[in-house]
């Protein structure tokens, strides 16, 4: 018995492209595509015409030319005789440096502030509220300039470090805070330092192996082994032994003040105040946002969870570590990563304090000296795009991993 009759077959009519839902989608997409291609063609044509009229070409050759300008803070060797490409690379590394430092510090600050904001201590929780609100509601640019101004005013000039009874002294005799920058000791790799490195890598591996072994043992027998202390011992003891045996191959180059001529420090590494200001401002600003995320994440774990853990006899520390944190982290981490992304993009405000990030070298001085704004801005945009795609790629992977665990 076949009741369902075939729908009447009719010839295809053009009107169906508009009114038949089966085809309308295709029509819309084709139209959209055509419009998009037309728009791009329009823009590209204008570009070509304009470039021609201005007598310019599209050429990245300028990157090989001598840059001619100096950069205060570099991670790789650079002089004004190097090329614009190297200056751009210095800028890229500087951006990544401040972004990396900022992310770590912002996380620490944010977690601290987020937890303390939930504290029962009235003063502390109020103070954290003030911190969070102050930083969330005032533009970052303003904070960067303010921190920079505070740094230049609150720290002593290098001359203060001079003489027998100097007005200022170095922290632990190692680090000098001045209004130019913070001078920190640098590591000097002496004879046999590579052995030391090998030992360090080996002990890290050993610690990891011990951790895995302890976990497997606990799962099998239920007996916990001391992970923290053994790992620490594994890390410190072999390193210290080799260090002594090899006769201290690793030394610190401590910055010392030059007593004659213009006051400056010799030796060590100078971390410019522009970097410090940008770093602190970015960390404090992003930290305020992270604090809110952390607070929200902890509050999102229902009270029943901790009560159940207590009922099972878990101590508060373990409750936090085994029950609350894993659940809170699932809420915290995705917005946290997007805060990292924001921080990286915000580091482009370095221009306000003259820190030589990629926006200041490639998108600033190089662009201005060579007049290649199209090429420079294109490269600049591409760099930021790649970084943010990598970060959001990481976020997607994480999201997929926690999504799998959901039951």
């Amino acid at each position: 018995m076949t009741i369902a009759a075939e729908p009447p077959r009719r010839a295809f009519r053009p009107g169906q492209l508009l009114y038949d839902t089966r085809y309308r989608g295709i029509t819309i997409q084709v139209v959209a595509l055509i419009l998009l291609v037309a728009l791009i063609a329009f823009l590209v044509r204008n570009l070509v015409v304009n470039l021609h009229a201005l007598g310019k070409d599209f050429d990245f050759g300028f990157l090989g030319n001598r840059a001619g300008y100096d950069i205060g803070q570099t991670l790789i060797p650079y002089t004004n005789n190097d090329s614009h490409a190297r200056a751009a690379l210095v800028g890229i590394l500087n951006t990544l440096l401040v972004a990396g430092l900022g992310c770590v510090t912002a996380t620490v600050l944010g977690v601290l502030a987020g937890v303390l904001r939930l504290s029962k201590n009235w003063i502390v929780s109020r103070l954290m509220t003030v911190y969070v609100e102050a930083f969330r509601n005032v533009p970052l640019l303003l904070w960067i300039v303010l921190v920079y101004a505070v740094l230049s005013e609150a720290t002593p000039a290098p001359t203060a470090f001079r003489g027998e009874d100097a007005e200022a002294s170095k922290l632990f005799g190692l680090i000098a805070f001045t209004n130019r920058g913070t001078y920190i000791p640098s590591l000097v790799w002496g004879e046999g330092a590579s052995t030391l490195g090998v030992v360090l890598v080996l002990s890290i591996l050993a610690a990891l192996v011990w951790r895995a072994f302890a976990r497997r043992r606990q799962e099998a027998t239920g007996q916990p082994l001391p992970v923290l202390w053994v790992s620490l011992a594994l890390l410190v003891l072999p390193f210290a032994l080799t260090f002594l045996l090899l006769g201290a191959p690793l030394t610190l180059d401590v910055p010392t003040i030059r007593e004659t001529g213009i006051a400056r420090f010799n030796g060590g590494i100078n971390v410019l105040n522009s970097l410090v200001a940008l770093w602190i401002a970015l960390a404090l600003y992003t930290g305020a946002f992270i604090a809110e995320i952390v607070r929200g994440g902890i509050l999102a774990v229902s009270r029943g969870q901790s009560e159940a853990a207590f009922a099972l006899g878990l101590r508060p520390g373990r409750t936090m570590r085994l029950v609350i944190l894993p659940q809170a982290l699932r809420v915290i981490i995705p917005p946290l990563i997007s805060q990292y992304l924001n921080l990286t993009k915000n580091s482009s405000l370095a221009v306000a304090v003259g820190y030589a990030d990629v926006r200041a070298t490639l998108g600033g001085v190089t662009m201005n000296q060579t007049g290649r704004e199209l090429e420079s801005i294109l490269l600049l945009g591409l760099f930021y795009l790649v970084v943010s795609l990598i970060i959001s790629g990481v976020m997607n992977i994480y999201n997929r991993r926690i999504a799998l665990k959901e039951r």
Binding site: L18, Y19, G25, I28, Q29, A32, L33, L36, L43, N46, L47, V49, N50, L51, A53, L116, S119, K120, N121, W122, I123, V124, L127, E133, A134, R136, N137, V138, P139, L140, L141, L142, V145, L146, A149, K345, N346, S348, L349, V351, A352, R359, G363, E373, L374, I377, L380, G381, Y384, L385, V387, S388, L389, S392
Partner: protein, 437 residues
């Protein structure tokens, strides 16, 4: 009481004791302090640390601020007054700079006689969106909203009133055509309205405005975009950026969730590219590169270019907020719309978007706070926002070398604006949460 009792119990209370106050250390301020501030070693340390921090921060700042000198017209005058009052070398704020230059910080170079216009424009804007922000106001107020943009543009930039009126007529015309053709299908009506209004704007609007102006020259003093500055500029860029990006953001969010492959991929690429690159680079593009991509000879002012760029930028963020709102709607809503036999646009217009937008308002307000703060970036491309204005004031001979006072003033104003908006957004979120239960 029996004898037995009398013999076995040595003492029995037969009246209630009057209630006694709790021990002093368990009551009032002392108890509060003990429980909240000094309940354990960690807490004591934290409290002391916090107190020290407060003291360290305020020790120098408060006297400096309160010694502040208001009646001065230059830095050197400030210094003279300070030396007279407190002696040399004492730190004292010079608030005189705010008193003498507040007008520039707030309005930029807006003509002094016309200063009532920007605040009035802001009030018009607030009145127009009030029914959206507070749901218990009468819905009828919404009718004001379509007229508001034209009124605001006219108030801010001035010129004859007929320009905005003629432009607004185009929309009225489009609406009339839409209504007339609606029975013939959405597409026909849409195309008809589009063609008629575009033709009107291209050929009729300008002569019409000119004719009306010559008949009845009614208007305000024109103000050039270059005269906009200070917080007026920030608010103009922020508010126009957010309002203009809203429709674009809705379209992008719908496109991103669309089942049509190409459409959704275009939306994804747009959103990711815009969000992946910092605003400051986009502003550079607006200032430096936009002219390369437009037909030769096109040139419009930098404020308009910045607004366009900020709109395109904010649209990507708004799209993500609204996408969140769309995703938060229960599937049942979509299915119910399908079951009713509604078409895509009908379902969106009648069922999905009203609910999704309502959920998204806190997110939109937060985006706006972000955008409003980001308007300070235009100082880097030499627009006279509060930051750039501070630099300009600092560069003059009278006020050279002053900066804390300016920064603090700018920060305080930003704080008031943003804090109020974030409170509103929190209030709204809580209300939404309640209404959902």
């Amino acid at each position: 009481m029996s004898d037995l009792d009398a013999q076995t119990i040595a003492y029995a209370r037969d009246t209630m004791l009057p209630p006694a106050p709790p021990p002093r250390r368990e009551a009032g301020a002392v108890r509060w302090v003990r429980e909240n501030l000094f309940s354990g070693p960690l807490n004591i340390i934290l409290t002391l640390l916090a107190l020290w921090l407060l003291w360290a921060a305020l020790r120098d700042v408060l006297p400096w601020a309160f010694r502040g000198i208001w009646r001065a017209d230059s830095v050197s005058e400030c210094r003279t007054i300070r030396n007279e009052l407190y002696g040399e070398g004492v730190s004292a704020a010079c608030w005189g700079v705010i008193r003498s230059r507040w007008q520039q910080l707030v309005f930029g170079f807006y003509p002094s006689s016309e200063l009532w216009r920007p605040p009035l424009a802001l009030i018009v804007f607030l009145l127009a969106i009030l029914p959206v922000l507070f749901a218990n106001l009468p819905r009828r107020l919404l009718w004001l909203a379509p007229a508001a943009p034209f009124a605001i543009v006219w108030l801010l930039w001035g010129g004859p009133i007929w320009g905005p009126v003629a432009a607004a007529l185009g929309f009225v015309l489009a609406w009339v055509v839409w209504k007339a053709l609606a029975s013939r299908g959405l597409l026909v009506a849409f195309l008809g309205a589009l063609v008629v209004s575009v033709l009107y704007w291209a050929f009729l609007a300008r002569p019409l405005a000119a004719a009306l102006t010559s008949i009845l020259p009614l208007g305000l003093t024109p103000v050039r975009s270059a005269d906009f500055g200070g917080f007026t500029l920030s608010i103009v860029i922020g508010l126009s950026g957010i309002s203009l990006s809203l429709p674009l953001g809705v379209l992008l969010a719908l496109a991103r969730r669309s089942e049509m492959f190409i459409i959704s991929k275009i939306a994804v690429i747009y959103i990711e590219v815009i969000r992946g690159v910092p605003l400051i680079v986009w502003l550079l593009v607006a200032q430096v590169l936009l002219n390369y991509f437009l037909p030769r000879g096109t040139n419009f002012d930098i404020l308009l270019r910045v607004i366009i760029m900020v709109t395109l930028f904010a649209a990507a963020y708004i799209a993500e907020v609204i996408r969140g709102g769309l995703a938060a709607l229960p599937r049942g809503q979509y299915e119910a719309a399908d079951a009713l036999g509604l078409g895509y646009w009908q379902a969106m217009q009648l069922i999905v978007l009203p609910q999704a937008l309502k959920i998204s308002i806190p997110g939109i307000v937060n985006s706006f706070i972000g955008l409003f703060k980001d308007t300070t970036l235009v100082s880097i491309i030499s627009l006279f926002d509060p930051m750039r204005m501070s630099s300009t004031i600092r560069a003059t001979t009278e006020w050279g070398g002053i900066y804390w006072e300016l920064y603090i003033f700018v920060a305080a104003v930003f704080f008031v604006f943003c804090f109020a908006m974030s409170r509103y957004s929190i209030w709204l979120e809580q209300r939404l949460e309640r209404s959902h239960r």
